[in-house]
Symmetry: D3
Subunit: 184 residues, 6 copies
């Protein structure tokens, strides 16, 4: 339906080693047109594919807060369970949160928390059978999931003046991506 | 309407130096009940107050991507304008994204991008006249706004194997909080 | 701003013993106009008030499913924690789910599960400082919270033909309502 | 709770007589992992299928309210029309309301009200071509649709003290489920 | 809390004759900063006020379609009832649809359809007690309400080639605005 | 799964020249049943197809406002960029805004603004691979996109009494529709 060369050669979702061939060299910002206007990427001609993306990040906390999360009496299960639900919700709502994202069929979400002495790490894996990658879904799951942890421990992390001297979210990155044809 | 001692003394939003008096020592995880169940904080008895919270964070990018964002021809205005809209939307939707957050009347949102050689910094200030703090709103604005930047530069940041070796979101923190009575 | 008699005398939210005076006798379906058209109730002239509504309901389950929910090894905490989050979310989204509901400031939500031999009971209390009652919020919390329980135990409740012979949601009702002026 | 090779044998959506083969006997709570953490079910390897689920439930009302609903002058058409729209909306939003549900392509929704002397019954049939069952969609349509009826008749159902002595939602159940391959 | 002159003197919602004093002459695009960046308007210092805005518009239809809408047998009540629900929903969701809008407490929505020989006119009145005007809410109610009418009569309006030669939405305008202090 | 004649012969989305054969003559309001109840159209038996719909419309403005939009100093890029994001968002949310619409996989959205002396024209093209047409998506993109423009220029368009004497949205229409089989 689109005959022009506009969306030939790349789409911002599978450049390079994932098998899509050589990318056009000046095609680096595919959400903007030649005129600099923002746009969604046309994925109509792309095949459905099995894709998986894994993102991770961490929230740095005071050791006493981590201890409280670990301690069953103060509701460890529920704190992380709530963050888990929040992360899954964020994955499913990425098409709303990221303006240029398409709605894709999310077939699986895995969330995993690792509690260290001064931080909680969150890894989110997302799988889809759709036409675009799902790293934005994984990233939204990680950042919102970590924000939920922050929300749950606010009182424990604040200092005497109501500020958060030690709390921060760090090292949010895409750990891996995979793409392979759908076997039928 | 609530007579019990359940929510006396603190609420997770204004402990310590913000004038709420001494917090109960074991009241560190206010989103969980004595039984460890998750809950919203009861804010019914709290007065409306002018509050302001500022959060900031950054996305590390390759210098060539930053150059492309800066370059008018590739749509700098629109990339950051889209991220700005995404950040504001995230602020307004925090009551949905963070399961235990209340919906509060957001009266102002300021977003500011600073483009350095290898990163884009985003600062989000949120103001409210409601009964709870708004640092979660500011944090959601920062993390989702940075994710929008990531989405807009995906093609530029991927390496030959489709991974993101240099991209990461870092140093997300609450820069400041203020609270003062509403003058009438 | 509204001069006509259209919304005089009642509002569907505080008839009778709650102190609003005598209701007009034919004012029983306040979401419909004299012409039978559906409408929201005009609450602009109503004062802010402290209100609380409690709803409850139950889901009937096979005893073995209840046993599985009770058993820590199979994730009791997480099943009920997820239903709790779902109930709170439903309370906050009632203005979307019930077409003629206003968005009101929800100041508190209490959720409580009681696990009996063949059922799980859910009680949801909602408090607001707004201009209308909050029983619809409490009811949406109960019914969606119970649906989340159903979703979590689907595999355990299905019989050999994939049907649910014993599962049902029952006795959903408003247990109590209160209203009193805001003390300032 | 998921011990096997990830999603072999069962998934909570098509156990038993629906043709999916023998279900693992201890696979009763598929939304929780072996560690008791909540999760979505991985449906990536499941084929698209035609599925249909029918749920029903009822709201008990005072006879005079039912009479008012039946009476054209007080807007019968609009009351039930509004509940119908609310039920369809709830079906389409189930992926948001039920935290572990996937978004599925809903291809058809049928809603049917039966007005008896002291109750209104609502039956909702949902059809999908997706990878999971749609009984949760049908249940959400029934419970929210009945809540909309409640909201529309609030003033008629309240007694002199503002309570609802006779109103209740009851007998919400899944009436039938079907699954068959997509013919191409 | 905001000391700078940034938001002095105007706010885009009550310039001129509504009593806000003289507007700064170059303050015409208040959703953009001095640097041309988009922003929300800071309404924190504005008092709560009673406001009402009325918008109207129309959809031009073939006379046979209008006749079908009028004819009870083909569901006139339900077509307009659905459009009414859609218009009210759009009013309540304006804070999401219009990126720079604040969420305001909508206290009343009136929708009125007038069916002429070749068109359906829709008037939507919105009232709020908030800090900003509500004309965008009224406009969103009108345009989405008319789109719902279009959706309901699609089959009747299409010609033999599937196009809509006669259908169009026209003359969407703000009919009136009012603002007055809240009496307490 | 549906054997009855209820949805035979037409579906409101591809009557006439688009190749669906002769439409039933009395099947003009396909969102209502024989009883006049509103309904979604059953699309379960319809094949996936490549579809494209283009809608357009315009907002009439005072020449000085258009001049301000054109002028880089007052943020032209951001005003239209925000409207563009709002239009794309509205396209993606049509399944929520239009009560009887299905959620369809939107594969592409093109937005184009044309700035004339006394108006801004907006054209929105939407493409899908789903089972129904996408003209409602294009129309929602146009009307909400134009409303965003209105919101951005409110202060410039108001007269001394706070009214909008010259502003109006006009000539919203479907410019073209296409449908063709998916090549595999």
């Amino acid at each position: 339906m689109r005959e022009g060369p506009a969306s030939d050669g790349s789409d911002g979702d599978d450049r390079g080693g994932e098998g899509s061939g050589a990318a056009a060299p000046d095609d680096d910002l595919t959400h903007t047109t030649a005129d600099g206007d923002v746009q969604m990427v046309d994925v109509g001609a792309k095949p459905d594919t099995n894709r998986r993306a894994v993102a991770r990040g961490e929230i740095r906390l005071t050791p006493s807060t981590v201890e409280a999360i670990r301690n069953d009496e103060v509701g460890k299960g529920d704190v992380l369970a709530t963050a888990r639900v929040g992360a899954i919700r964020a994955v499913k709502h990425t098409w709303e949160s990221i303006p240029m994202c398409h709605a894709i069929p999310v077939t699986n979400v895995d969330t995993e928390f690792a509690v260290a002495d001064d931080r909680v790490e969150l890894t989110v894996a997302v799988e889809t059978t759709g036409k675009t990658g799902c790293e934005m879904e994984a990233l939204e799951g990680v950042t919102t999931g970590l924000n939920v942890v922050w929300d749950m421990v606010k009182a424990a992390e604040k200092d005497a003046s109501g500020e958060y001297p030690d709390t921060r979210i760090a090292d949010v990155e895409v750990a891996s991506k995979e793409k392979r044809p759908i076997e039928e």
